[in-house]
């Protein structure tokens, strides 16, 4: 398995022989890869190459879509130990809390800002009220949203701007104290300024969480990525060497050729 120039000091996600199909149509075929601590690790590839499916295979969200079939092994190193994502005894809910996900378009719940954060804490972790408040504030501070919303927490979350909503979704995932963050084109639906804010945030978060980012933007990968993996039509995955993705022209050239 190629891993480029930098050896992985510790891998956090190991995927072996992953095959995912929907309604009989294969989307990912016999994929092997390792994702290391921190990152961000960027997943690039053509539309339809299965990047989002791959991401969703990690937190088993593909199962929410009808007709999905997954075979293979996905192991995550969380809570100090390795867990098998697809083992029968694995708690699906715990897995999804530990590998938090942020979607392409901000999917705030039709609730107030505060309730967006507190509802998952109360429902999945059964935390008492005061603990929920503490975590909520901590998460909002972590995404630099606290100052902007602290005086209007009861307001519907849908009134926030796109960038703010996306940060809220990030805070919502962070409040559950994950170790891994899966980001599916997190800046795709945002304007330039909001996108930059998210990118700066990711740069901060990478020291505390393992980030896996699916992206369409080569310049974003160029700016942010620690590692770049290119997915080719579900079949193979190639790690781009650092000297390639740190150089804009080289990156463009390689991507043109690959996809």
């Amino acid at each position: 398995m190629e891993n480029g120039n930098k050896p992985l000091n510790s891998s956090v996600i190991r995927i072996e022989d992953l095959c995912v199909s929907f309604g009989g149509v294969p989307v990912i075929r016999h994929l092997d890869l390792e994702i290391g601590r921190g990152g961000p690790t960027f997943l690039l590839g053509r539309s339809g190459s299965g990047k989002t499916t791959l991401l969703r295979a990690i937190n088993r969200l593909n199962e929410c879509f009808p007709g999905s079939e997954t075979r293979g092994r996905v192991a995550l190193h969380v809570g100090g130990a390795w867990i098998e994502a697809y083992a029968p005894g694995t708690s699906l809910e715990r897995l999804r809390r530990q590998a938090g996900m942020v979607f392409q378009s901000p999917n705030v719940l039709p609730l107030s800002i505060a309730r967006n954060l507190v509802l998952p804490l109360k429902t999945t972790l059964s935390l008492p009220d005061d603990e929920c408040e503490l975590r909520m504030e901590a998460a909002l501070r972590e995404v630099h949203l606290w100052d902007e919303v602290e005086d209007r927490l009861a307001v519907p979350a849908s009134t926030l701007s796109g960038g703010q909503q996306q940060r809220l979704c990030l805070a919502r995932a962070l409040a559950l104290r994950p170790e891994i963050l899966l980001l599916d084109e997190p800046t795709a639906s945002l304007d330039f300024k909001a996108a930059r804010q998210i990118e700066d945030l990711l740069a901060e978060l990478k020291s505390r969480y393992t980030l896996v980012v699916v992206s369409h933007s080569l310049s974003q990968a160029h700016r942010l990525a620690e590692r770049v993996l290119v997915l080719r039509d579900g079949g193979s995955i190639e790690a781009l060497p650092e000297n390639v993705f740190r150089d804009r022209d080289a990156l463009l050239a390689v991507m043109d050729e690959i996809v």
């Binding site: 699906l92 715990r94 609730l111």
Partner: protein, 298 residues
């Protein structure tokens, strides 16, 4: 580049205008006639006859020649019927929207659709058959009454509740379910904590419309225990009066002009009741929606 309208377009246009004018005109005539004949009869004595209102309401003084017993009967019926139908209907609607799949879902849906299409008189006949069966077997003194009517009315409105609940839940965006799953909610938690609150206004509207339907039905209660004179509903197995039947009875058997006026006034009262239910359903729609969005309580 427009060309002059062809003949068929003119015909369609003319016909549509005729229909659009005819229907409101009919409604107007209907309402006008009802108001003309009914308003003179509206008064406190319409409800309570000669008995003082407070005595009738608080001390159960008998009311003759007034609508109050019929109102009490209708109220009791509706409360009982909804008490039976609402939990059953909402639970079934949720099951069909979120849990049932494939063949099971098709079969159950077909049964519910069939139930919806059954003429109301057959619900009454079913109740009647139930009593005949009980008479022949375990309870020879069984007779039609309040509880039986409530049961049959519950069957009547059950498909409404199931359909509106189901549509309300199915109409929610798929993203909600995905978000819930990604946060580690189990399916049950997604349904209970996210989907159900989001669908609540739709479900509530369905409940209110069902209340209106139960209040106005005459065919079911005709066969299951309503009578013209029974006073206030005394027990679950006794006979009772009801507003729609009172109107029907007076229309067929009135003996004085005053009684006829009473019939029209009663019709206004019933129309006011069902119209109110209807208006509430449309109002509460927006209010509940807003309440859940701001969510002040945890």
């Amino acid at each position: 580049m427009t060309r002059p309208p062809r003949l068929e377009e003119k015909v369609v246009r003319g016909f549509s205008w005729a229909a659009a004018l005819a229907v409101p005109a009919i409604v107007g005539i209907l309402l006008g006639f009802l108001l003309w004949r009914g308003v003179p009869g509206l008064s406190l004595s319409l409800f309570f006859g000669d008995t003082p209102p407070l005595d009738a309401m608080l001390r159960s003084a008998p009311v003759f020649d007034g609508l109050w017993p019929a109102c009490q009967g209708t109220l009791s019926l509706v409360i009982l019927a909804m008490g039976l139908a609402v939990p059953l209907g909402i639970a079934s609607g949720i099951y069909l929207a979120e849990y049932a799949t494939g063949r099971l879902r098709r079969v159950l849906s077909f049964c519910v659709d069939l139930l919806a299409g059954i003429p109301s008189i057959l619900m009454g006949l079913f109740g009647f058959a139930l009593i005949l069966l009980l008479r022949k077997t375990v309870a020879p003194v069984a007779n039609t009454g309040l509880l039986l009517s409530a049961l049959c009315l519950a069957l009547l409105v059950l498909p409404y509740l199931i359909s509106t609940t189901r549509l309300a839940v199915q109409g929610l965006p798929h993203a909600l379910r995905l978000t819930g799953a990604s946060l580690g909610f189990s399916h049950g938690q997604v349904v209970a904590r996210i989907l159900l609150p989001a669908a609540m206004h739709g479900i509530f509207c369905g409940v209110i419309l069902a209340i209106g339907r139960a209040a106005e039905d005459t065919a079911v209660i005709l066969l299951t225990g309503v009578v013209a004179n029974a006073g206030a509903p005394s027990s679950l197995t006794g006979k009772y009066e009801a507003l729609p039947f009172h109107i029907y009875y007076l229309a067929a058997e009135y003996q004085t002009p005053a009684q006829l006026t009473q019939a029209f006034a009663a019709a206004l009262v019933l129309l006011g009741l069902t119209g109110l239910m209807f208006a509430m359903a449309r109002c509460l729609h927006a209010r509940l929606d807003k309440k859940w969005k701001t969510g002040t309580s945890h």
